[in-house]
Symmetry: D2
Subunit: 140 residues, 4 copies
DNA sequence: TTTT
DNA sequence: TTTT
């Protein structure tokens, strides 16, 4: 029975994306995204908590990430949770949970005054980018 | 700047929830949820992939989980991603990613014929349960 | 600047889908979906509210709807909100809001005992169906 | 059987919120939100489509809307779809579909250079606001 | 470890 | 018009 595995994030990139171009011809981009949460604890003190997410973007989205996304940008990411296992340097099995992006939208707008157009702001042509389904992603 | 950290899952419980009643008076339930995905690989073969999610439910949702949820049940879960670190038995820092549930809805319906009411089916009174915000969860 | 327009519904079909095969070769399916909500009013009385949604599914999803979906089935629908205007019989402009489906997943499972396999239950092969992007739906 | 009725929008306010303070003591804010979509039609021409949503925010969220939201701001809205019927001036039954907000997050950040702090930019303290459940909204 |  |  099929299920649903959907993640929706709005946050800021912790670093510029790292993009690798695989021998297969595919590209893959990795970056971290911070989502900030606020709450009051039992004493009424405002507590801030930052959650860091590992984002993975493939193919067309990887190229978009490489071209447009920079550290500090605020983006919307839609994707799915995927936990991979790998062997660490001591040959122990470890797990890492990543968000595989299906859609990325750049948020905010270009500031208008002096000091605008700095490195941390999105280009005017910012928009929504979706992963085009490829042969190994078709739902049937 | 605040962000969004939202997860939506539809899947089946891999085991009955384990519920602990803390000294503080809070309850917490843990269970795994499988979300199944299907796709065709490059050769056209249908490939199935199961993703396992660690679900954590607190307080009222923990009690609901204890009372109503059983291995095999299909549920809708809405929540947020949280990665915790802990020290393993070799005193190494390890990370675990969990989904903290904000809302759980039981899916499917009680079968009508003979053989109904078996252990893997939801009670007739199945419905949606939401986490009531408590003092340590208020957004301001 | 691009935006996000996303709807996630879990509910029951109010009627069998009506499917039209257009001269262009496209198919389109329409059906209604009920989502039920419960709350307690100020006097503590449990109040039930049903929201009816107009669902539209195009092309491959329309054919899936025609083949698999029946009145009473419980499904997950992901899509976008679209408000259309039309002229009513008095030539006045009217508006109708619909959910254009991008993904449909059949929920629940076939009951096992006697009385199973009745008209209102999903086929065993139930799964997730996604709209394949077509030329008039590409994001760029 | 309970259902899910969830809407997620990212867009810009079409006008300043209109806030009414009801005799009951409740407040309600109304505003429109534009979500922009882009696609290529069959001839490959880039087509832009703007969807306008009617947003309704109650109580604490209405006061937040009144205080912080202005025409042109980019926000994230999470809520539910609700279609109301009313009698128009010719005493005919009409329907209007609205999004009742459960959570609003202000997006973008204060621009840093000259010309910053203009009317269309969010305050530095921008954050996430959630509807606190009240007696007539509790899920049980 | 679920489900089909 | 669904479902419980």
């Amino acid at each position: 029975m099929a299920g649903i595995n959907k993640v929706i994030l709005v946050g800021h990139l912790g670093k510029d994306p790292e993009v690798r171009h695989l021998e297969s011809g595919s590209s893959v981009a990795n970056f971290t995204l911070a989502t900030n949460d606020y709450y009051k604890d039992k004493s009424g003190t405002r507590v801030e908590r930052t959650e860091w997410h590992n984002i993975t973007a493939w193919r067309g989205l990887a190229e978009v990430a490489e071209k447009y996304l920079k550290k500090g940008h605020q983006i919307y990411v839609e994707g799915k949770i995927r936990t991979r296992q790998y062997q660490d340097k001591d040959n122990q099995t470890r797990y890492i949970t990543e968000i595989v992006a299906d859609e990325i939208t750049m948020l905010g707008s270009r500031p208008h005054g002096e000091g605008a157009q700095t490195q941390n702001h999105q280009p005017a042509e910012a928009q929504t980018f979706r992963q085009e389904p490829e042969i190994d992603q078709l739902p049937f």
